[in-house]
């Protein structure tokens, strides 16, 4: 049963993202519509026009311009938000690099969708995973309440003076973006203070941002970004605790573990299928197979220490919902590297749900007991 202390509404993942931006006191939004993230843009538009959301909404003419406008607004001292997907995310790739190097704490909702051609509008994590080198933090959600909480937590992370990096909050297209679930619309006043920029454009103290940076200084800037990611992992633990203290809700920022301790086989995955995996784990336990799930929430920074601890001596099955051709699933590659000096009984890749193939508990069952890496059909 739900403790109806705060307002609870039945919202889609997209609507949730919009409400989260509103309650995080976002002041500038610059966004462009793209399936399946469009409703975020539409909802914010309504909220702003109705006067419920105190923000300026710039309806830019492309995603590249959306990110450029966000960077500008953030540099000028405002809390900024945008949302996109797939091709739109790819279009703004250059500006994603810019936002991270410029140290602008923007938060962006990404409704994960495959990149074509042929046009494919359904869930696939390849769009955001393709951006894993841009310097952005990446957090993958598995249900709508989590999307709501994570956006506020992302601002806490991003705006921290010792981090100052943008963050993307990702959720599976259609599976989460268009599915309605009850979401408690907590107000974040006690948790998220006003944005206090560490630097901002100011005529009183003029400076130039982003001019030529010689090699050695550039290397230091990049090293600082890496160090900020390291610090982010430590900060995430603190923020998780703080959020729980105030709201009595456990929203992970690093990862979620489910029945891992006594598990023989552990499913490691991200996003909505991580929730489905828990159902699969329970179902298999009924058949006397001890399965557990590690659902990675933070992909950037990659929580190497945490996964090493959890997966030692386990039979690990990594379920990727994307593929980096020429190498394999991205989660599998990174996990393999992280576990290179950790003794595991087995480390096997699996690729499921590409291009939006629906992933059911049977998909997991099938994949755990068959030798094939790819599952290319719905297993119902």
């Amino acid at each position: 049963m739900y403790d109806v202390k705060y307002e609870v509404r039945i919202l889609t993942g997209n609507e949730t993202a919009a409400y989260a931006a509103m309650n995080s006191e976002v002041r500038v939004v610059a966004a462009y519509p793209i399936t399946p993230a469009t409703p975020v843009v539409e909802t914010i538009s309504r909220l702003v026009e109705d006067g419920k959301m105190r923000a300026k909404f710039i309806m830019v003419e492309s995603e590249h311009s959306a990110m450029a406008a966000c960077i500008g607004a953030s540099a000028a001292g405002s809390r900024t938000f945008t949302a996109t997907s797939s091709h739109g995310l790819a279009y703004m790739h250059e500006m994603l690099h810019w936002a991270a190097n410029a140290r602008t704490p923007i938060v962006m909702a990404v409704a994960n969708r495959a990149i074509g051609p042929g046009w494919n509008i359904w869930a696939d994590l390849g769009d955001s995973l393709s951006q894993r080198d841009t310097g952005w933090m990446q957090l993958y959600c598995s249900h709508n309440q989590e999307i709501y909480d994570t956006i506020a937590m992302a601002y806490r992370l991003a705006e921290n003076k010792r981090i100052l990096l943008p963050a993307m909050v990702c959720y599976d297209g259609f599976t989460l973006s268009h599915t309605s679930m009850p979401v408690e619309l907590t107000e974040f006043v006690d948790f998220l203070p006003d944005y206090e920029p560490v630097w901002m454009l100011d005529t009183e103290k003029p400076f130039t941002h982003g001019n030529i940076l010689p090699p050695e200084e550039f290397a230091e800037l990049r090293h600082n970004i890496q160090k900020s990611h390291d610090r982010a992992l430590r900060l995430m633990e603190k923020i998780e605790e703080e959020f729980y203290e105030i709201y009595r809700r456990r929203t992970p920022l690093i990862l979620e573990e489910y029945k891992v301790e006594d598990a023989e086989k552990v499913i490691v995955t991200m996003g909505a299928i991580g929730s489905e995996a828990k159902v699969a784990a329970d179902s298999l336990r009924e058949k006397k197979v001890k399965v557990g799930v590690v659902r990675l929430k933070s992909f950037r920074p990659f929580p190497e220490k945490h996964v090493k601890k959890l997966l030692e001596d386990k039979k690990v099955f990594v379920f990727d919902r994307a593929i980096s051709p020429g190498s394999g699933g991205q989660l599998y590659q990174e996990l393999k590297a992280a576990l290179s000096s950790t003794p595991v009984k087995r480390l096997s890749p699996r690729v499921v749900g590409i291009g939006g193939i629906d992933v059911t508990k049977r998909t997991f069952e099938k994949a755990l007991f068959e030798r094939k890496i790819w599952v290319k059909e719905v297993v119902s």
Binding site: A30, K56, S62, H64, I71, D202, G210, I212
Partner: protein, 307 residues
Amino acid sequence: MKISEMEREEYVLPGNTACHGCPSTVALRTVLKALDGNAVLVIPACCTSVYMGPFPNSAIKVPVFNTAFASAAATASGIKASFELQGRDTEVVVWAGDGGTYDIGLQALSGAAERGEDIIFICYNNEMYSNTGVQRSGATPYGAWTTTTWKGKREHKKDVSELMLAHGIPYVATASIGYLRDLYEKVRTAKQIRGFRYIEILAPCPPGWRFPMDKTIQMGKLAVESGMWVLFESVRGRLRFTGISKSIAEGRRKMKNLEEYLLAQGRFSHLKPEDVEEIRRFVLKKWERLAMFVEGEVDAAVAKFYV
């Protein structure tokens, strides 16, 4: 207005890495003075983003936000939105070359103009990609040599100032570094208007156009005197010519010989007589088109395309 009445403070500092006789620094100096230094510049990749020098210093004394090549107008939109929320009246000014305006930056420019963003977009146009050497741009005129048009460009340039007229924005103006007082006044006028304002400044570039570095200002004058560059100003849709262009339009002054302008530049040194004729035809057509915009009315007698 008198030069002695102009703002004296320098916002472009000496000892920067611009070429000798650079028209961009000349123009930027005047523009920032006209804005009393109360501006934030948004600068995409262009000569200015390089000549302001490397970290840890910069040669520009107002806040500058460098941005990616295609995104100047969009970045400026974001900055202005934030300033408005904070109640700050600082002008947000894009300072872009013709690359970041005509070509890769065109989409963002058009989007911002259509949205009526309250920013000033200033293009200093040297009719090529100067910063990366001398490559052709959409603003490069017919017949000009560049490193990507060794035998001379075969296409005429497009005209973004006319495109901006078609966007119906409250202020569109063209200027030339040959007439800095005209430029100063136009920037002051733009400052008084709210909404999207566009100013395009002709910036003859000595190494790119191949003329001696001390002739920069002369070249800016010659371009206007020969009719190849037209000085105009459109306030809320009402267009009027200014300066020498006004005298030419009103028949009080003859256009100087086009050859005088073209052959003073090494980039046109290989032009054949038929090329010059082609350019002359293009220039005359441009005057005809602009004449139709004067006073904001289309002269039906001249408009041949009405059925």
